[in-house]
Chain length 158, copies 2
DNA sequence: GTCGATTATCTCGATCGTCGAGATAATAGC
DNA sequence: GCTATTATCTCGACGATCGAGATAATCGAC
C-alpha cells in the first residue's frame, strides 16, 4: 500500500491550489489599492513585462496578452490613459499602430508591489540549499507542464 | 558573490508566476466549456469544496467565499440555478436561509475537470522521493505564507 | 407572548466592462 | 494608382456587479 504517499501528493496539490488563490489575491489587492479592476492590472503587468524585455506593447498585442477584443482594448487603454498610467504613442514607422508606454508613477507602483513580493519570495528561499531549490524548480516545471496541458484541453498522458 | 543563487531564486519566482497563470487558465477553460464566467466557476468550486467537507453552503456564505454582495449572489445563484447546476433549498431550521445543493451533473463535471487535474498532478509527483516531496511541501508553505502576507497588505518581515 | 432589533435574502435601478458589427485610416501588393 | 489587408476606434447592446431599500424570519428583552 502506498496510500500514504498518495495522500501526501494530494495534500501538496491542495497546497498549490491555496497558493494560487492567495497569488490571485495579491493582484486583487493591487487593483483595490489603485482603483483598478483585475483586467487593468493584468494589462499593466503585461505592459511592464514587455517593457522589461525592451519591447513596447501595441494595443493589438496587449489585447492578445489579456485576451480581449479590439473594442475592449480601446476601452481598457482609455481607462488606463485617463488616470495617467499609460500613454498612447503613435508608431512613426507604421502610423496605424498605437504603442503603449507606462508612466513613471505606474511603473514605480507596480515595481514596488510586485517587485516587493518577488523580493520577499526570494528572501524566503535563502534558507534553501541549491539542491533543494533544484528539486523545487524541477517540480515547478513538471507541474506547470501538467497544468498547461489541462488549460489547453490536451489529453493527460497516462 | 551569490548573485547566481539570487538569480536562481528569481527564476523560481518567475516559474511560480507562470504556473499561476496556467492554473487560472484551467478554470477559464472549464468556464468556456460550460458557458460560465469566472465567478460562476469560483462559486461552483466553493460549493463543491463545502460539500466535500460535508457542509451545505448558504447564499450568504457563498457570497463571502467569492467576495460578492448579496445582490450579486442572488443574480449568481439565479444563473447557476437556471442552467441546473445548483438548487436552492430553504433551511427548515431557519427559513431565512437558502442552502445551495449542486446537481449530480455539475458535481460530476467538476470532479472530472478538476479532479482529473489533481490526479495528473499526483501522477506527475510519483517519481519524487518522500524527501523531495517534503522539501516541496515546506517550500509551498513558506511561499504561501509570504504571498498571504502580501495579499493582506501586511508588512514584509525584513 | 409581543414588539423592536437583527439577520438572510431578494428586488430594483444604475454603472461599468466586454463584445460584435462596422467605420476609419494607414500600409502592402500588384 | 487601386484593391486587399491590417490596426485601431466608434457605436449600440448585453451582462455582471453594486448600493439602497424591501421583505420575511428569528432573536432578545420585557
Amino acid at each position: 500500500m502506498q496510500s500514504d504517499a498518495a495522500a501526501a501528493r494530494q495534500e501538496i496539490a491542495l497546497l498549490l491550489r491555496r497558493l494560487n488563490v492567495e497569488l490571485d489575491a495579491v493582484g486583487q489587492r493591487f487593483a483595490d489599492l489603485h482603483g483598478l479592476n483585475r483586467t487593468d492590472v493584468r494589462a499593466l503587468v503585461a505592459i511592464m513585462d514587455a517593457a522589461r524585455r525592451g519591447e513596447a506593447l501595441t494595443a493589438g498585442r496587449l489585447g492578445e496578452a489579456v485576451d480581449l477584443r479590439s473594442a475592449s482594448v480601446t476601452a481598457l487603454v482609455d481607462r488606463l490613459e485617463k488616470v495617467g498610467h499609460v500613454r498612447r504613442v503613435r508608431d512613426p514607422e507604421d502610423r496605424r499602430r498605437v504603442g503603449l508606454e507606462m508612466s513613471e508613477a505606474a511603473m514605480t507602483a507596480g515595481a514596488q508591489h510586485f517587485g516587493g513580493l518577488a523580493r520577499d519570495l526570494s528572501a524566503a528561499m535563502e534558507g534553501y540549499s541549491a539542491e533543494d531549490l533544484a528539486v523545487v524548480r524541477r517540480w515547478l516545471e513538471d507541474m506547470t507542464g501538467v497544468i498547461t496541458r489541462h488549460s489547453r484541453g490536451e489529453p493527460s498522458a497516462d
